[in-house]
């Protein structure tokens, strides 16, 4: 079925607004045809998971060279603050610096907003309930769909950029009410309480159920914090593909189990046991003993996490570098509130705009061992042969102060 276009959309498609806009429209219409979208709809926000990898740079430069700009300026993912890293930690490889510079230049021409943050939904690009947006970056896609109740499909960096350029997305998938209902019922028997417990739960579920259906979680005893929900969605999309979930009594489209299911039959039932969680917790101690560094902030640390780290480091001195990744707003606030100086005196680095997964830049860490609170950080860095022990923030900081993994 062809996608129905209005006159403005036809004009964009046929080149009235330039070849870049036309290309973006061809991509969106192609996606729409594939998924039987009847029409395009307007977006009010976009977030692009710019990755500073080859394809990302190629496509952004191609669009920029065609003179294209964004009708809906998208916010951008982090990359690598090599000025800070060069001054304080190590010399960033030249190839990495060139890739970061090229990325920043191309997106600047496109009119994107360089918040350089992977959690735009907390402060800098926050959709409302029911708002139609195009968010790539899997942890952001799942958060805005599930926790906020905004509507986005699981965009690629490129499809989100095409949406930002045209201000349009094809109407299909999670944009439609009937596709947002829960399909798999997940009974959580394990006692999930801390923010770190939600990392474990998010990691475990896709390993027990391999499928694209929307899960509904029941049995959670504590109301999760924003950080717990951030952790949860991130890990659901490390071991699996879960662009939306419900937690009964917590997320806005699941006030009750019946509401979450919308009257549909459950397609599968999954139980997450205490044993599942404890087995994962134990497996996350991968290489106990001496460590070379600690890395926290995948996704970016929130202000309350920075405050906790500051409290843990008060009056202490770390044996190894503590790398803390966040956005520039949070860093500024940490400075104003006195957290930054405590962290820096203890040997910590609160670095803005930087991601754990920029292989061309983190190459000097190849072969090293660290601690992190994020399973996703550990997973991506396996490609670089960096080994991580995964544990709660307080244990990561304790390990860094000691220079070896605390049990």
């Amino acid at each position: 079925m062809p996608v129905r276009l209005n006159r403005f959309e036809e004009e964009m498609l046929h080149g009235k607004y330039g070849e870049g806009v036309s290309l973006a429209m061809r991509v969106l219409v192609g996606i729409g045809e594939t998924f039987d979208a009847e029409r395009l709809v307007d977006i009010t926000r976009a977030h692009v998971s710019s990755s500073s990898q080859d394809a990302d740079i190629w496509f952004a430069e191609k669009m920029a060279d065609l003179g294209t700009t964004c009708r809906v300026p998208p916010t951008l993912n982090p990359n690598f603050d090599f000025r800070y890293i060069d001054d304080h930690l190590f010399e960033t490889p030249e190839k990495g610096k060139a890739m970061i510079t090229a990325t920043n230049e191309a997106y600047k021409k496109l009119g994107a907003i360089p918040i350089l943050c992977c959690t735009p939904y907390f402060e800098q690009n926050v959709p409302g309930f029911g708002e139609i947006v195009a968010f790539s970056e899997s942890n952001a896609t799942v958060y805005v769909n599930s926790v906020i109740g905004a509507r986005t499909n699981r965009e690629s960096a490129q499809s989100a950029l095409c949406a930002a350029i045209t201000g349009k997305v094809p109407e299909y998938g999670l944009l439609l009410e009937e596709n947002r209902r829960g399909e798999v019922l997940v009974e959580v028997e394990a006692d999930i309480r801390s923010d770190f417990d939600f990392q474990l739960l998010g990691w475990c579920y896709p390993l027990k159920h391999d499928g694209f259906e929307i899960p509904v979680f029941t049995g959670l005893k504590e109301k999760p914090s924003p950080e717990a929900l951030m952790n949860f969605g991130t890990q659901l999309n490390t071991t699996g593909v879960v662009p939306m979930y419900h937690i009964v009594g917590v997320t806005p489209e699941a006030p009750t189990l019946e509401a979450a299911l919308g009257g549909d039959e459950v397609k599968a039932k999954v139980t997450i046991t205490k044993e599942d969680i404890e087995k994962t917790r134990a497996e996350f101690y991968r290489k106990p003993g001496k460590i070379d560094f600690a890395m926290l902030g995948c996704p970016h640390l929130t202000l309350s996490q920075v405050a906790e780290i500051s409290r843990l480091l008060e009056g202490k001195r770390s044996m190894v570098p503590i790398i803390l990744l966040t956005n520039s707003l949070t860093r500024e606030m940490a400075q104003r509130m006195g957290y930054l100086k405590v962290i820096q005196r203890a040997g910590g680095h609160l670095i803005p705009g930087t991601c754990v997964d920029i292989p061309s830049c983190w190459a000097p860490f190849q072969g090293k061992t660290g601690v992190t609170d994020s399973p996703r950080c550990a997973y991506y860095n396996e490609l670089l042969n960096i080994t991580f022990n995964i544990m709660p923030i307080e244990k990561c900081i304790g390990s860094a102060v000691l220079g070896e993994v605390v049990e």
Partner: protein
Amino acid sequence: MNGTVRDTFKCRKISGGRAEGPVLISKDRVCFYLAEPGSGKIMEKGHDLEGKSIAGKILVMPSGKGSSVVQADGLYKLSKCGNSPKALIVKEADTVLVSTAIILEIPMVFKVEDDFYRKIEDGAIAKLDADNGLITLEGTEGSYRL
């Protein structure tokens, strides 16, 4: 010479274009980031195609997999090295792979008639016309391999 056979199967376009080449079938979903750009070989441990090259093939697979950025990066690097598949035939479409195929101008189709999957084999020569939604298998009787 044995009688020439020619079978045509209907399918639906995802990314337009035409391609002709040998078929390679993967039972597993494919993440192109886990292929070696210089050889086109799938490097993912335990994958159905581990060690096999997808370069120049008409790749038949269940679907893509991988994050919002790696799929594009993987196919882009393969293309730059001249080692991307010539076309993709998938059972299930996902937004990430769909947008990647369109941008990199790699023909891609889905919803192929069931009969195709019964008759297809590795090495068969397939002609794909994505724009018109047609796949043609040609060969001698008993085999589509040339």
